[in-house]
Symmetry: C2
Subunit: 190 residues, 2 copies
């Protein structure tokens, strides 16, 4: 049985080094609060505020390290609260997505694009993927074992020797399934 741990992604933001310095000051470096399941990735101690036309969130967790482009990942519920019509996209695929205003202790920045609802996906280490016959970008059907069982379709496989086995869903998806961080999912065979 192809069992995968479930990681629930709450709203969070990835920042470019340029934006980190605008928001927190010249030469600023993020502090590690907690390591994440993917090697080298971490939740930072720092948070920022994000502001949309209809609402704002005051403490959005920054995930580090810095990336080449700033990207805010929210749930569909969050998108209604902010008034930002974020599309469902894979991480990094931000061309043509809406922007948002970001406020830090040292300054603020308005990004032109970068707000997405992250498409659900599973990170596979190359060895896990090989063992199970799964290829990068393959779309999978995955049953999540929660209080309200369901099968997610179109779950994107992402394979790399830099990844650790983990399924990433957002809070809407987790709540719909009645599953929490650390829950369990099964990849179905057809």
């Amino acid at each position: 049985m192809k069992k995968v741990p479930v990681g629930v992604s709450a709203r969070h933001i990835h920042l470019s080094q340029e934006h980190i310095e605008i928001l927190f000051g010249k030469g600023y470096e993020l502090k590690v609060l907690k390591d994440l399941s993917q090697p080298g990735q971490y939740a930072a101690e720092e948070t920022v505020a994000v502001v949309g036309p209809k609402g704002r969130f005051d403490k959005v967790r920054i995930l580090g390290p810095a990336r080449s482009k700033t990207q805010l990942e929210i749930s569909r519920t969050d998108s209604y609260a902010l008034g930002i019509p974020a599309p469902v996209r894979e991480s990094g695929d931000i061309a043509g997505t809406p922007g948002v205003k970001i406020i830090g202790p040292a300054g603020e920045v308005e990004i032109e694009e970068g707000v997405i609802v992250a498409a659900r996906h599973i990170h596979f280490h190359t060895e896990d993927a090989k063992k199970w016959g799964i290829e990068d970008k393959q779309k999978l059907r995955v049953r999540v074992i929660g209080e309200r069982p369901l099968i997610f379709e179109d779950v994107i496989a992402r394979v790399s020797d830099q990844f650790a086995l983990d399924m990433h869903i957002d809070t809407d998806e987790a709540n719909a399934a009645g599953v929490k961080n650390g829950g369990e999912a099964i990849i179905l065979d057809e």
Copy 2:
């Protein structure tokens, strides 16, 4: 193909006549704002505030007519915002569920129980159910055709000659599927 329209239930409340009179005044009658898909059911013009230990919602829509027992139906997301650990239950099955404070223009009431996350379900008119070989309380697997396709399992069939064909899911479930009110679902055969 067993096609069913999707109705997305936002948070709402059903009130007993006794509670309507406490909240809105002696002899008060709800005003119809809009008829709902189920015969005789309507969204009322009136709203109430509901207050939990962690948060409140100021404009919760009342659905009429009055019921024998007051029942607040929220999403899991809402339950975290209110700080009320509502269980997933079928409508009417409120024994042992948490309570909530309800505030209206003429008074307020604290119910001892009645806050639930409604279990997803499909209303079938008796004739629809007979045609498709579906029985009351049967658990179904249902694919929802949205931006993010998924299959809900354990969808409860509710059959009555008072019902009109409609699948009811909450906002978390709708957002996880990327479907809106008036969307489409297909009952799967096994």
